[in-house]
């Protein structure tokens, strides 16, 4: 039996310990804000935070996060008002929106470790998250806005 905390709540799993965290979150726990985009850590749509680090839930097994704290988009802020979320809305970032939970989690992790990232640091830190609609310019603007106060 694997135990872990997701968004502050105790969860347990007694199935395949190698089950990717992504599918545990989505199909077993019912937290569908974390998205499936590639299954190979190539697109970042499934980004969650484990403790304070951004990780790709699609290649992280449930056993890898035993006894750890997992934060998903649903748990980032109780009312959805994390500075990154607020900045995202202010800049009207999303088009289809599918990748945005992963983008927001990645951006939140970036700002947690580097409160004032430079232009190049933002572009580098966010390069693992694909947006097929092509919202990159606005994502960068939103991360910058979040870092300077929304």
């Amino acid at each position: 039996m694997i135990k872990l905390k997701i968004n502050g709540q105790e969860q347990s799993w007694d199935g395949d310990p190698n089950l990717p965290l992504l599918w545990f979150l989505r199909d077993e726990v019912g937290l569908t804000g974390t998205k499936f985009g590639c299954g190979q850590a190539l697109c970042g749509a499934c980004t969650v935070m484990v403790d304070n680090d951004a990780v790709r839930a699609c290649i992280t097994s449930v056993s890898d996060v035993a006894d750890r704290q997992v934060t998903t988009i649903e748990g980032l802020h109780p009312t959805g008002d994390h500075p990154v979320q607020k900045a995202w809305r202010q800049v009207n970032v999303p088009q289809c929106g599918f990748c945005q939970a992963g983008q927001i989690m990645q951006a939140a992790a970036l700002l947690a470790s580097n409160a004032k990232p430079s232009h190049d640091q933002i572009r580098e830190a966010m390069a693992g998250n694909i947006c097929r609609c092509g919202c990159y310019q606005r994502i960068e603007n939103a991360v910058h806005l979040a870092s300077t106060g929304v």
Binding site: P20, F36, Q100
Partner: protein, 770 residues
């Protein structure tokens, strides 16, 4: 905004409007929907602005009935149905916003509800072809105006005053003379009893009074939910007892299952069942490809189970499809005469008499849509009833196809449209929903079918593969001859065996509608057979055509020693409506040419605007270059300047992109900008990387590592968008797709300016490194 105006200008409207197809209205009455107007005919407004669209010719036409689209609760909440699919363009916000504007609803008190798939009730729902605003601006205004009129009539009766004395203003109806006012909620019950006013007599708002339209100040309705993870996409639907499925499909299009060994798969923890999925013979239209499904308690277990399957396939007729050889076939075809689809003057004679002939042959490979959300669908089939939840661009078509596939009446099928995590044309094809329906029927339980990224790339309805060959003859520095041969397997091949020519809707995307003022023009379409599923990809055939034609213009400019922008304007020629009477089937994006001609004044205008704003001719650092391209598609006009930087190792970056778009009268300029910003990224992706190749009939790429798309660290640093303010009464035109086609040729022309290297085959890949 200058569309439609006050009542005085509406005079004569009654004569101009044509409400046809009475039989279809009779059908509506039979369903208890009397009073709905199905405008199967073009929508005309006042004669001074009589624009006609092709909306009425779409399957099931247009329905203009406030009782179908609008509901007002006693607390004043106005619910407006969004009947088109949201895939990122903002349409789920824009169309209801038009209704709200015209009915004087306060947007903060409007709730948008997604309509299910029912074209008899809602009219056409195919969210494709950049049509939503262009086909629905006027009908949505009419729906809003009808609702407003009904509210005003109800208030006038309540107060016992003439209806012309009352007026709806921001969620209330007011009687100025007495200062009385009633909220929409107070009037809702009475208004519902009013008869629906005739479309012909409706008063539309004066655009100067618009609160929302044309302003760009309203964010998309899903914005908050998207940022908190609450937005629901196809895969986010969860039903009690739902099973999770992934499917192993035949690796070669048209192949089929011979046998499978499920022993190892069934031992995987969480796997519950392994079963065959019915497939359809090639060409299979939108029907499933067939294969073997693994059913499990979660998607992860299903994927692991599928990995353990041992399957024997019969590869079928396309087993030898191989991209290198196929390209050679296309090139050979393009070098010989083909079916003539436009002919003016004597192109052979003119080429012979030319001082100089410039020849360009341009290759564009297959590429995949790779929307961030791979195809996914949930189905719950019980007896002869089916309910589907899916991210589909064509909910009406999906409903029809589910009914046919399950052999049940269409009335028994409910298609719930979730948000789409990108569509780009892929989700116009509902094969994934049909798979879910078939599995649910067999299992007697709700089923979610999840495609992996590998499934998505390997079993896509791919963008076609093409060779565009252009020969241009110059005499005394002027272009006197233009022969364009376009050879590519057609989308029609997915529907009809033996298709070797492109369909009118493909020929009409930049080939036969070339807008140049050249005396001798000939367009040809040599034969090409398809060996995989070809489908609509955002912008469709406009991508290869704009790439070829706009590269060619720059090549001609180079040969003639001219500035590319000046050459481009010279070839476009005088301001006029291009005479295409020589073309048998113009298509014109389904729009009547009278309302949507090829207007070279508008084409010139976007070139001049982008040249001005984008600083054409400005000096750039060493290793940088500017390129320009213009293209009309989806009846919009769009021009792009790309600044590229190529370093000594051949690595390219894009410091700046400038784009000017003329899409006529528009609703939400903020979303137009977002579409054009995104189109630049998609254009850059396909130009740098976009290539799906085949070997032994199999797609060679699997995921974002071998089918890359542009990431943030390589995206343009600056993207400027300039929207041409619409001239009075300019009809609305497309926005979602037109941004993509000019990007690649502008980039390629910029690379030539920077390096002197002319790229004629995409993707660029490593060509600059050589």
């Amino acid at each position: 905004m200058n569309i439609m105006t006050n009542s005085s200008k509406l005079r004569g409207f009654e004569r101009a409007v044509r409400v046809e197809n009475v039989s279809r209205r009779a059908i509506l009455k039979g369903l208890g929907l009397a009073g709905g107007f199905v405008l199967a005919a073009p929508i005309l407004s006042r004669p001074a602005f009589a624009y006609e669209t092709g909306a009425g010719k779409m399957p099931h036409g247009v329905v203009v009935d406030p009782r179908v689209f609008v509901a007002i609760a006693a607390d004043g909440t106005v619910t407006i149905l969004a009947h088109r699919a949201e895939m990122g363009t903002g349409v789920r916000t824009s169309l209801p916003l038009i209704v709200a504007e015209e009915m004087e609803a306060d947007w903060t008190r409007v709730h948008v509800q997604q309509a299910h798939g029912d074209e008899t009730k809602f009219g056409n729902q195919d969210t494709d072809g950049s049509r939503s605003t262009r086909h629905y601006l006027l009908p949505m205004r009419q729906i809003g105006a009808s609702a407003r009129t009904m509210l005003e009539q109800a208030a006038a009766k309540r107060w016992n005053v003439p209806v012309m004395e009352v007026k709806a203003v921001k969620h209330e109806v007011v009687h100025d003379a007495t200062g009385r006012r009633l909220g929409f909620g107070d009037l809702a019950a009475d208004a519902a009893k009013e008869s629906v006013p005739a479309v012909e007599g409706l008063k539309l708002k004066d655009p100067k009074d618009f609160r929302y339209l044309g302003k760009g100040e309203v964010s998309i309705v899903d914005l908050h939910d998207i940022t908190t993870g609450a937005a629901r996409y196809g895969g986010d639907v969860r039903l009690p007892g739902m099973k999770y499925a992934v499917i192993a499909r035949p690796p070669v299009t048209g192949g089929k299952l011979v046998s499978f060994d499920a022993a190892a798969a069934q031992k995987v923890s969480g796997v519950e069942k392994v079963m065959e999925v019915k497939g359809w013979p090639w060409p299979s239209k939108f029907q499933p490809l067939g294969g073997v499904a693994v059913i499990a308690r979660n998607t992860g277990a299903a994927i692991k189970g599928r990995d353990a399957l041992k399957i024997v396939w019969d590869d079928g007729a396309n087993a030898k499809y191989e991209s290198v050889a196929y390209r050679a076939e296309l090139e050979a075809a393009a070098r010989a005469p083909g079916l003539v689809v436009r002919k003016e003057g004597d192109v052979d004679g003119a080429l012979k008499s030319a001082d100089k002939v410039v020849v360009g042959e341009y290759y564009l490979p297959h590429f995949a849509h790779v929307s961030m959300e791979p195809p996914v669908a949930v189905a719950d089939v019980k007896g002869d009833k089916a309910e589907i939840w899916a991210p589909v661009q064509s909910p009406g078509g999906t409903r029809e196809d589910v009914a046919k596939t399950l052999e049940i009446p269409i009335e028994n099928v409910t298609v719930n449209v979730t948000l789409l995590g990108g569509g780009f044309g892929r989700k116009s094809k509902c094969d994934f929903a049909l798979e879910a329906a078939l599995l649910s029927k067999e299992l007697g339980a709700p089923v979610k079918v999840q495609w992996t990224r590998e499934d998505d790339i390997q079993h896509d309805f791919l963008h076609t593969v093409s060779v565009e060959r252009i020969e241009a003859g110059l005499k005394d520095g002027k272009v006197i001859a233009w022969r364009h041969r376009s050879v590519a397997p057609s989308i029609a091949s997915t529907f009809a065996a033996g298709t070797v020519h492109q369909a009118p809707f493909e020929l009409g995307m930049g080939l036969i509608d070339v807008p140049f003022e050249i005396a001798n023009i000939q367009c040809e379409n040599p034969e090409a057979a398809a060996h995989t599923r070809i489908g609509w990809f955002r912008s469709v055939s406009n991508i290869p055509r704009a790439f070829a034609i706009q590269s060619m213009v720059a090549e001609i400019a180079q040969a003639a020693g001219r500035d590319p922008k000046d050459m481009l304007l010279e070839m476009i020629g005088s301001p006029r409506h291009v005479d295409l009477s020589s073309v048998k089937d113009l298509w014109n994006y389904g729009e009547p040419y009278s309302s949507y001609p090829i207007d070279t004044a508008r084409l010139r205008k976007v070139v001049e605007l982008v040249a001005d704003k984008g600083g054409w001719g400005r000096s750039v650092p060493k290793g940088h270059g500017l390129g320009i391209a213009v293209h009309r598609s989806f009846v919009s006009y769009i021009a792009t300047i790309v600044e590229v930087a190529v370093d000594e190792k051949g690595k390219l970056t894009v410091p700046r992109v400038d784009t000017a778009i003329d899409c006529g009268t528009y609703v939400n300029p903020e979303r137009i900008s977002s579409q054009i910003e995104g189109a630049a990224i998609m254009g850059l992706s396909l130009a740098k990387y976009g290539e799906v190749t085949f070997k032994d009939g199999r797609v060679q790429q699997k995921n974002y590592d071998d089918f890359p798309v542009v990431r943030m660290d390589e995206s343009p640093l600056i993207t400027n968008v300039y929207i041409v303010p619409p001239a009075a009464d300019t009809p609305p035109s497309g926005v979602g797709e037109p941004g993509v086609p000019p990007f690649a040729p502008a980039l390629i022309n910029a690379i030539f300016a920077a390096t002197g290297k002319r790229i004629r085959a995409l993707p660029i890949g490593k060509q600059l490194e050589a």
